[in-house]
């Protein structure tokens, strides 16, 4: 032997980390097994006893992970425990509710509450729409030629200042058969949701484009209304528009409000950082837009089917008023 110091290794004894693993391995395997059985669906598949075991095993695994990180250099072990704890963590803290419950909670509580929170913006949007409408009507009243710049050709179809009163009246009534109407309604729904999402999308640009979108929407509507007013068909026009229009316009206003609130969050960050504030405003706005999409859906349904079936003006105005009262009540009181 050369003069080299020798330190005996503890060959007969296990490493401390190996002993630790031996002690705890069974509980990790049990947790792994439970997670395997839970599968993707989450915790529903597990029995009551297993559900009681899960948090216990999870905490044990979490503590094992802490210990392993401190005392073990077995990479495979630490990686395994990290994965195991992560998987258990996700299961335990994953989304608690399936879609059905989520939807129910959304409409009965979350949506109306957020709309109430954004009340200022909602009124602003409604105001802008109304202002645009009145302006449009005034412009067309002053000079019918303004109609062409206010109402895009595609939307106007055959309804222009050049049309006769009878033509316009005709346009309000009979359309194709119900099958076509149904398709049309679905397409409308899709398109209107797009407009809604557009307001949401334009929000981050400090909300200014949203103001423009709202106002111009109002102008278009006003132009249309002005045209019909000039022929004395106002009553018929609004009877045609309002049953679904109340819902639809309200939804547009809500989307506008959502966009504006997001824009505001960018301009005025408040206490948290701009990004955090933006994210929070974005989440709220998402709630509003989602609800608005549901409203567009309803409006499309009403427009698609109701319009063909009921022609009586009084009934239509009645329905329109009912929807207005219903929405007002919903947003005022539900989910407080």
């Amino acid at each position: 032997m050369r003069g080299v110091s020798r330190v005996p290794q503890n060959d007969d004894r296990q490493l401390r980390s190996a002993a630790f693993r031996r002690e705890r391995e069974a509980s990790w395997r049990e947790l792994e097994d439970l997670l395997e059985r839970a599968g993707e669906a989450g915790l529903q598949r597990l029995g009551v006893d297993e559900l009681h075991r899960l948090p216990v095993l999870y905490r044990a695994a979490a503590s094992s992970l802490s210990v392993a990180r401190t005392i073990s250099l077995d990479k495979n072990l630490v990686t395994y425990l990290e994965g195991l704890v992560a998987r258990a963590y996700v299961r335990i803290y994953g989304a608690k509710r399936g879609m059905g419950g989520a939807v129910g909670d959304f409409f009965s509580r979350r949506f109306p509450q957020v709309v109430r929170d954004l009340a200022v913006w909602v009124w602003l949007s409604i105001g802008l729409l109304a202002l645009g409408c009145v302006t449009g009507m005034a412009l067309v009243h002053h000079d019918p030629a303004h109609y062409y710049s206010l109402v895009p050709a595609g939307l106007a179809a055959d309804r222009t200042p050049a049309s006769s009163r009878d033509d316009l009246e005709e346009a309000l009534r009979g359309e194709g058969d119900v099958g076509e109407l149904a398709t049309f309604a679905s397409l409308l729904f899709d398109n209107n949701s797009r407009v809604g999402m557009l307001c949401f999308a334009l929000g981050p640009a400090a909300g200014v484009p949203v103001l423009l979108v709202l106002f111009s929407n109002g102008l278009t509507l006003g132009g249309f209304a002005g045209l019909y007013a000039s022929h004395g068909l106002s009553l018929e026009l609004w009877a045609w528009l309002l049953p679904h229009g109340v819902t639809e316009l309200l939804a547009v206003a809500l989307c506008g409000a959502a966009g504006l609130s997001v824009g505001w969050s960018v301009v005025v960050p408040g206490r948290s950082g701009r990004l955090d504030n933006f994210a929070r405003a974005g989440r709220r706005a998402a709630v509003v837009v989602l609800g608005a999409v549901a409203m567009f859906f309803l409006a499309a349904l009403i427009e698609g089917f109701f319009r063909q079936l009921v022609h009586d003006l009084t009934v239509r105005y009645l329905v329109a008023s009912l929807t207005l009262v219903a929405w007002a009540g919903y947003f005022r009181s539900v989910g407080r």
Partner: protein, 306 residues
């Protein structure tokens, strides 16, 4: 609950105070997951469209037919929008595509993945992708007289949205930023045997494979784990060559006597591994572990060489 994002790992603190290090999912992997999901949606939509077509063939009254068609059309729109929401809620942050790629959506603050987060992150997808796409194909949706200008704007918008994950540390797209979520990879690790239990070590306890303290201070944590990986690989002819080379290198560095009784590379390495790990774990408890190897090597008599 808190979070830090460092390099490509998200450090998330669970409510119990355990710091979980979850690797952020690769963008390529996320794209693949999205493709799989899109394919599934496309197939679903196709089936529904066929269903609508089939309805035309049924002898129903026009009203009923119209109603059915309307319902199917609406389901179509809903499917596209809500596929993601449905699955991410039900499967705790996974869709079939994400499941296949083994990634998952989690909340960035370490808390539960809430319904709103799932809604928000998927709603913005309309804004990020579908609206620009639709407007690209028919600018009239957005601006009635729009043309090239609108198309260009859409291209720019889509380009910005697509590159957003590359520009921030969390690899978040707009939806993730708004919702406060992260997408992490979840590889399932298998627990293998503890290498310090290797049966071959029984032979090593006869005293021939003993290492001095000086010899064990040359290598660090990194090398230990590289050695572990090499030892865990599947046995085969190639493996012995690799092990032989590693053993040689170690012997050279630690000044292992050339006239020592010859041992098979595997036995030597297992013994060295166990000794080295015991040493380093001891150091770790004292808070003084070496990360990687030293520059010098030892001669057979214990002197240091550069």
């Amino acid at each position: 609950m808190s979070r830090t994002v460092h390099a490509h790992v998200a450090r998330v603190t669970s409510p119990e105070g355990v710091v979980l290090e979850l690797p952020l999912a690769d963008l390529g992997v996320r794209a693949s997951a999205w493709l799989v999901d899109s394919l599934l949606i496309f197939v679903g939509v196709l089936v529904l469209a066929l269903g609508i077509g089939a309805i035309q063939l049924l002898p129903l009254t026009t009203t009923l037919e119209g109603a059915l068609a309307a319902v199917l059309f609406l389901v179509l729109s809903v499917v596209r929008s809500f596929y993601f929401v449905f699955f991410e809620l039900r499967w705790q942050g996974r869709t079939p595509g994400k499941r296949q790629q083994k990634v998952r959506v989690i909340a960035e603050d370490g808390g539960p993945l809430t319904v709103e987060m799932v809604f928000a992150r998927n709603l913005t997808r309309e804004v990020e992708l579908f609206i620009p796409l639709a407007v690209l194909f028919s600018p009239e949706i957005l601006v009635p007289d729009g043309g090239a200008g609108v198309r260009l704007a859409c291209l720019c918008w889509a380009a910005v949205m697509l590159s957003l994950p590359l520009l921030n540390r969390r690899r978040a797209r707009l939806g993730d930023l708004v919702a406060g979520t992260l997408v992490v990879a979840e590889p399932a690790a298998v627990l293998e045997d503890d290498l310090s239990h290797e049966p071959l070590l029984a032979r090593a306890s006869d005293g021939t494979l003993v290492f001095t303290r000086e010899q064990l201070e040359l290598y660090g944590k990194h090398e230990l784990q590289v050695l572990e990986e090499a030892l865990r690989r599947d046995p085969g002819d190639q493996k012995d060559l690799l092990l032989h080379e590693i053993a040689e290198r170690i012997r050279h560095k630690i000044g292992w006597p050339r006239d020592a009784p010859s041992v098979r590379p595997r036995e030597f390495l297992f013994a060295f591994y166990k000794a080295q790990r015991a040493h380093l774990e001891q150091q770790m408890l004292l808070g003084d572990v070496r990360e990687s190897k030293v520059e010098y090597r030892l001669g057979e008599d214990g002197t240091r060489f550069r």
